[in-house]
Symmetry: C2
Subunit: 530 residues, 2 copies
Amino acid sequence: MSQTPSTVRPVLINGIWRDADFSSTFQATDPNTNEVLAATFPVSAWSDCDAALDAAVEAATALRRVSKAKIAEFLEAYADGIEAAKEALVDAAFAETGLARSPRLGDVELPRTSNQLRAAAAACRSGNWAAATIDTKAGIRSCFEAIGPVCVFGPNNFPFAFGSVSGGDFAAAIAAGNPVIGKANSSHPETTRLFAEIALRALKQAGLPEATVQLIYRTSHADGERLVSDPRVGATGYTGSRTAGLKLKAAADAVGKPIYLELSSVNPVVMTSTALQQRGDEIANDFVTSVLMGTGQFCTNPGMVLLQSGEPSERFIATVKERFASAPAGTLLSPAVSTSLSQSVKTLCGFGAELLTGGGEPESGRCAYANTLLRVSGSDFLSHPEGFQTEAFGNAALMVVADNLDELTESISRLEGNLTGCIYSAADGSDEAAYEKIAFELIPKVGRILNDKMPTGVAVSAAMNHGGPYPATGHPGFTAVGVPAALVRFAKLTSYDNVRESRLPELLRNEPPTEDTWRNVDGQWTQASV
Amino acid sequence: MSQTPSTVRPVLINGIWRDADFSSTFQATDPNTNEVLAATFPVSAWSDCDAALDAAVEAATALRRVSKAKIAEFLEAYADGIEAAKEALVDAAFAETGLARSPRLGDVELPRTSNQLRAAAAACRSGNWAAATIDTKAGIRSCFEAIGPVCVFGPNNFPFAFGSVSGGDFAAAIAAGNPVIGKANSSHPETTRLFAEIALRALKQAGLPEATVQLIYRTSHADGERLVSDPRVGATGYTGSRTAGLKLKAAADAVGKPIYLELSSVNPVVMTSTALQQRGDEIANDFVTSVLMGTGQFCTNPGMVLLQSGEPSERFIATVKERFASAPAGTLLSPAVSTSLSQSVKTLCGFGAELLTGGGEPESGRCAYANTLLRVSGSDFLSHPEGFQTEAFGNAALMVVADNLDELTESISRLEGNLTGCIYSAADGSDEAAYEKIAFELIPKVGRILNDKMPTGVAVSAAMNHGGPYPATGHPGFTAVGVPAALVRFAKLTSYDNVRESRLPELLRNEPPTEDTWRNVDGQWTQASV
């Protein structure tokens, strides 16, 4: 094991903050100043992953004997702990991500995070996520159950709500009964470390196995692939770049390990000419607000607008261009994000997109890039549909201007899978035929279809689908947001055939575990006992 | 296109029985006589797949505009047609598979097949498979919807109930709203052809697109991989050998196409010493009946027994050995099955299994192999756990005799994923501690856990899981049997956010589509309107 200077942050393995085994380190950057932050983090060798996996297997075994109520208590204690540590968390995340302290970090993302944990606790307690199904005649009962240790790779853009040891995947995996090995996002390791500290305290308070939450900051790519395909792992949740995600997917797929990925999405917004004619300024305002909010760094940022040529579209584009040009460019999350954004814009221009405003090189002195608007004709789009779907993650958008409705729908038919798709149409329903044509092409391409609304907000709702066809995610049947549906990803289906009642899991016994528990008994949903 | 002699069976593409494009042909074998059957079938070139995919895309588009009731009518008309054609289907399947005309083919598998289609029709009509979820406050509604053209590769062992254009995957894919491209199993192409004829008539009767059901008999392996990864495909269902299935999985995974596989399973049965002491003869009878029924050619055939050394186990093994030796060997499905069984037995012996009875070479003159019982000690098993899990598909089983309970549970912990796992324990609960230890290890390894019962029967129940952890299947969260759950495999989740009510799919409008429809509205399951 390499020598560990005390200035390098320890990793959390099996309930102990211990020196990592590492041969290199990394530091995060303050995107507001481009200054490298003081805290130094290890790039763990495989031995750290190996130790975490061993501890996770033990925790997974122990968790199977723990009551759901106890797991729920942990999630609630953790939510309380997060709220109590608000100031420190907001400070750390502000320094590492440049996201506004308020309202964004402190008043939006933090409450969302603690509320997600509480919603997961409620689902854990009632078992309502687990699709309990009882066939009294056949003597068979089934439900979803914990799948085993879950690895979570969190993204850069939501240090709290999608954090590796605090966010949606984490909450879902724990509520389904699994321990989590978090791999911090390299752009906000200190924030992630603070969460892990709070989680460990909550684990102790609730009396859960201390290896239920573990944290490693970074590994080599090869070790990441080894981690998600290790026999000890149950499943993996990943949100991040397409390139890195697809490598992890290949490794996990090869050994039959479920992996849930959120990779990339341009989130097309289609606007009918009538909608733009009737309320173009209002829509332009919606759009500009949505693209520039958070400097466009949302998974569901509307990066592509598809519209038909004509006066209303030209007016809309001109308005957006003017607003983009006059608005100050927000801070981006990290130097990697500004570099990547600049490269994506160059790629789009290389395919023939016209630069309406912005472009150029990233700012020096902070992580930022000019608000950028690009334009391409429908026929040019159709000549390189894949190239023009290059995701420009950040404050940039591409206008695809089709000659007519047929070219518009043809362009939509060439879209890859996306998380969301929006359609703005006439409020009075006067262009319903156009809506139908557009929606018919768009719906198969997206996980969530919206009317007259930008996609940036992702409500925590049981009906939410934060997912979509490949390559937006790895499988079109799962959502990463929305308790209880998100929990099913980290579970296996188990059928109990002729199993004596005393041996059944609590959820499948004759008496339901809570008054809130819904089960499907002989084809009917009921809260009653069998 | 190659010349097609009229003696080669045509393929069914876009509603027309047309000459295949092929450069080689194949014929099935009558396993009762080893005689090659007269009917000759084409090995299709890619152009046949290509044409089927184009037609399937058009059918998928058309099906999205068709009412669920109409799709249900097709499934019901098809079920009626199958029952009317019972004699011809049973004759064809008997000639191609050697399975008994009665009760197996005509009185068990055929009614199961038509009933499955009717159950799928009911699920299609009510939408109860689609997890309709309505959040009235957030204005978001979600459900599962058709995923696009589905390829179905059926297995050799259920020519009706798992047939490519008649079985469980087929029924699930159609009821979810998708067209199916069936790839016949090469051991029963004529049977599959007859089903496709009946299906085509039912499609015409119900007025569905005629490309809703298409049939190709065989392709090269390369074209099979190209088929499941083609951009026009929505998903694939495959049941068959692990080798072929894993190649298809790799091809589909690489492009993010969902593929559901049922690959192999030894279906471990664990017996406590007390259970064998109390009712060893009864259990031996259960076991022998289960292994020899259908000549052991069930996905859930109990191919491995784990028990503890001692007098009750020795008596049990002796009884089974005697019964195996004295029972006539049944007919196997095809020459490939008898060859493969003989090879698997050699492989197991090569690892050190002791041959108690059977073994040797396949019979000549028909497809058959001696009833075979093998034995290995727990410690030998633990020295090559993977090798001893070689699936010997057919009338063979391996007894793993552990020295004690710890070695028994250690052996269980080394099992791969399986469809089923059974535990026989004391009827009076006197060995509950042993049961608990065994079950704790076994449950994570299996899709279905059974008590005091052999796994061979797979009831069509909403609580059934005919699935399990890899490599039994490709994903532990899905079942291939059990309407409505099986349908979700062939669907994408779509969330409708702020979508005007008239634009919503029928299932998500305020008024439910049928009186039987269950939806989750604001967290409560209800059949009422919103």
